[in-house]
Every structure is written in C-alpha cells, then in structure tokens.
C-alpha cells in the first residue's frame, strides 16, 4: 500500500502539471471544454479533409501567418468569422495538382438567400468562392456538436436549427465531383455530427429534410443516418 504522504506528493505533482496545462499558451485563458468546443469542430473538419485527401490534392489557402521561426502557420477560427481572416483547405485536381475543385472551410460566414450571414461549422464551397461567399457558392455544410457527456443526446433543437440553416442556403446537393471521391457516409450528405448520442428526430424526418445525422463521432462506433 502506498503511504499517505506518497499519495499526497503525487497529487501535488499532478496539480503542478495541471496548472500549466489548464491555461492556453497564447491568450492565457482557461482551458475549458465548454468554451473550447471549436476543437471538436476542427477535429471533424480535419476528418473531412482526410476523407477528401483520397481524391484531391490538398493545400492550405486563405489567411496564414509566419511564425518567428519562419514557419508558416494556419489560422483556425475559435468562433465564426469572416472567411478572409482564416485559413481553409483548397481541394485541387489530384492529377495536375492545380485547378481548384472545392474549398473546405472551417466556421466562416456565408450569406444566405435572404442576405443574412450564417456560419456552419464546416462548409464545402465551390471552386474559387470569393472572400465573402454567398449561398450559391455552397456545396455542402456540416455542424459539429460537442457534448461533455458522450451519453447525452444531440438536442432535437440543434438538428432543427441546422435544417433551417441548410434551407436558407437553398438545400444544396453535394456535387458528383465530391461524391465520386469521398466515401465515408458522414461526408456524403450535409448534416450534424456529434460525439454524443443521436437526437430523437425520426430518420424519416432527416431524410425528408435532406440532411444526415452522425452520432458517436469520431469513435469506431460512429453511426450515420439515414
């Protein structure tokens, strides 16, 4: 049996390391899963990029910075913002390595049918979409919903909210150039992804709305419906 003093010493050492890890290195803000859900959105975003990598050449585009050591740094959004302020991944023709086919964007604002800016967590835009894209540039959209408890269901209202956004973009259909390349089910239809459980929305309702819902993502047990 470990001595009480050993146990206390261990906890003190954990506390010392926790103190460093629990603060962000740049802003000095608290690390907090409730505030930092953009990390889950980016995790989903890069999963989409991996899926796209099988058929496109990928290139970082948009706004980037140069570090003090001269390395290029991509800028990923913590909150939705203007496309011009952030990086995105340009999907190029895999054979020529040129000719943009799509732009895979993180949470950037896109103007909808009625002139309102909306920012899905992930958007697939058509090639050469401008810095201020509008609904006609949208090929597909996804929202990523992080929950602290993986037993929690994604709320129905989050699905309904996504359906509304999707409709305000004109319910775009994913083009065959994307569908011909990308095989994972969750990226073959616009939709909602969550690390939690599925909503209580009937599958038929999702189907009728033209969206998908993926739960348990990105675990091995992830399921997409319809």
């Amino acid at each position: 049996m470990s001595s009480s003093r050993d146990l206390t010493r261990n906890l003190k050492q954990i506390a010392a390391k926790l103190k460093t890890a629990a603060v962000w290195n740049g802003t000095g803000l608290a690390v907090d899963a409730e505030q930092d859900d953009y990390l889950y959105e980016l995790l989903c975003y890069f999963r989409a990029a991996v899926a796209a990598g099988s058929g496109f050449r990928l290139e970082i585009a948009g706004a980037t910075e140069t570090n003090r050591n001269g390395r290029r740094a991509a800028r990923w959004p913590k909150k939705p913002g203007k496309k011009a302020n952030f990086s995105y991944i340009s999907l190029l023709d895999s054979k020529t390595g040129a000719h943009e086919q799509f732009q895979l964007c993180p949470g950037v604002k896109v103007r909808d049918l009625h002139g309102k800016d909306r920012a899905p967590d992930i958007s697939l835009l058509l090639a050469n979409a401008p810095p201020q894209p509008i609904y006609s540039h949208v090929a597909g959209v996804w929202d990523a919903k992080y929950t602290a408890s993986e037993e929690a269901r994604v709320p129905d209202v989050a699905v309904a909210d996504f359906v509304y956004t999707f409709q305000q973009f004109g319910s775009p259909k994913l083009p065959s150039a994307w569908l011909g390349v990308v095989t994972p089910q969750e990226w073959r239809c616009s939709g909602v992804l969550t690390n939690g459980k599925e909503s209580t929305e009937p599958t038929a309702a999702l189907k009728a709305s033209g969206i998908a819902e993926t739960c348990g993502y990105p675990s091995a047990a992830a399921k997409t419906r319809p």
Partner: protein, 285 residues
C-alpha cells in the same frame, strides 16, 4: 494539561538554539507559554519542515519588565524528540485545522510562534496527511479562476439541494470528474486533432496550427494566438504523471493516478485515518 506551540526558526521573533535546548522570543507581550507545554519546531528556509518536539522546562524573562517595553524571554527545553522523518510543511498544511485560508495556506505559518490545537499536533507527530483534503485543495488551486468559480458554484448549489456539505473524499471525486470533463477532455481533443492533422497531406513544407479569434471590433487588436503544438507540450507533462501507476495490484475502473488514489482511500487500513480527518474537518471550509 499542557498546550502545544508551533515555533518557527528564522523569524524576527524567535531564535532557536541549534541543539533545540532553548529558544529566545522577542515580543510585545510576554509569551503565554507555560512549563509543561510542548513545542513543535518548524525549520528551514525554502522548504520548511517539522523537525522535532521538546518540552518546556523553564521560562526566564530576561528583559522588558515595563509595560511598554519589548520582552525578551528565554524558554529552556528538555526531552527533545526528533520526528522520525522530517515532514514538509506543504505536504501537511491541508491536514491541519488551523489552515482556514485554503488558497494561501502559508499565511498561517508566518509568525514566530503560535498555539497549535492538540489534533494538529497529533497529526504532525503521526506524519500522516489527510489525503482527500490535501488532494482536493491542491487540484482546486491549480485550476484557473474561471474554472474554480464554476466548480465551486456547482458545489454550493448541490450542497443547498442536499442540505449538507459533502466530505472531502466525495469532493475530491467530484473535482476529479470536473477536471476530466472540462480540462482533460480538451487535452484529449487536442491529441486527436493533432493525430488527424498528421493524416492530411498538406504538402512538404511544415505548417504550424494556430487557434485565433477575429480582431476585437472595439479594441481593434487580436489576442495572442493559441498554438496547437505548444498546448500539446503543456499537456504532455500532465499525461506523463497521470499515467504513473501505484505499486498496487491491478485495480478496476478508470485508470489514472487520481483514480487510483481515490481507490486507495477506500483501502481499509487508510479508511480509518481518513475518517478521523473527515470528522475533524466536518465544519472546516
């Protein structure tokens, strides 16, 4: 019955003879120490430790008979008992009932001498800390302010609903769950994100990844960016220590050093000591 005094070396008020045979005290009022009381020594500069105990044999007022004068008192000591192993103050302070300021516990040990409740004397002499309370405050104080406030608010609401305050074993367990959900979860997401990024072929030139906000429309400047690699390095030290295992038989359930420690608190041999402390601190903050 004699009382117990904690005496600290290296202060303006107390000068301790190296052989623990006597100490001199400079003070405004004559110390209330009596023959038959027991003194416990706290010594060291950077790392303060409880080192020994001794009995008070004689008290001699050397100077300062007048009411307004500073008093110089010599306290002669006998029967020194060296503590079996020098005990670090900072590994024991959350086990002492005199420590009410749990964010700045050192403040309770600034004075040259102070009375010590019998329970605290017994705790130090035994050399066994209250693991649950020590772990609870160590971890709680390691959290940034916003998380600490969030956790404590939850606990106050819960205590209101339950109409009683939880013991420290329970509080430590809840804090562990909170840290897991709010902090460690971010570490896991960062790790998964970094792994996913390595699977994406973004060309030959290495690229760093920053998390940024848009410039503040009012203040007109953006905060310093948070960097993926730097934060992963910050978490690496934490993962390393959490992965440490206690030299005990395989224990079921969630495995990391905090989880293992919680299970260790339930081992019969330790449960009795922790239960004594839980009773002692039932009314403490």
């Amino acid at each position: 019955m004699g009382r117990y005094w904690l005496v600290r070396s290296g202060t303006k008020t107390v000068e301790l003879q190296p052989d623990h045979k006597a100490l001199t005290i400079v003070s405004r009022q004559t110390p209330r120490m009596s023959i038959g009381d027991t003194v416990l020594f706290l010594e060291g500069w950077e790392e303060k430790r409880f080192t020994a105990t001794a009995g008070i044999a004689r008290i001699v007022e050397i100077e300062g008979a007048g009411a307004e004068e500073m008093k110089l008192t010599k306290v002669e000591l006998v029967d020194e008992v060296v503590l079996p192993e020098a005990l670090d103050l900072d590994s024991m302070w959350y086990s002492l009932t005199i420590v009410r300021n749990t964010t700045r516990p050192h403040l309770h040990f600034r004075r040259g001498y102070r009375l010590l409740p019998q329970e605290d004397f017994y705790t130090i002499k035994k050399g066994e800390p209250f693991v649950a309370r020590s772990g609870y405050f160590e971890l709680l104080n390691a959290l940034p302010q916003s998380l600490r406030v969030s956790f404590e608010s939850e606990q106050i609401l819960r205590a209101g609903e339950m109409r009683k305050r939880a013991g420290f074993r329970e509080r430590l367990e809840r804090l562990y769950a909170f840290i897991d959900q709010r902090v460690l979860a971010v570490g896991r997401l960062l790790h998964e994100l970094a792994q996913e990024i390595t699977k994406v072929d973004l060309g030959d030139a290495p690229i760093d990844h920053r998390f940024v906000s848009e410039p503040d429309p009012i203040q007109g400047f953006a905060a310093r960016p948070d960097e993926l690699e730097s934060q992963l390095r910050r978490f690496a030290g934490l993962w390393e220590i959490l992965a440490k295992r206690l030299d005990d038989q395989a224990l079921p359930g969630k495995r990391d050093l905090i989880g293992d420690t919680l299970r260790q608190l339930d081992v019969p041999e330790r449960r009795q000591t922790e239960a004594r402390f839980e009773r002692l601190f039932a009314a403490a903050p």
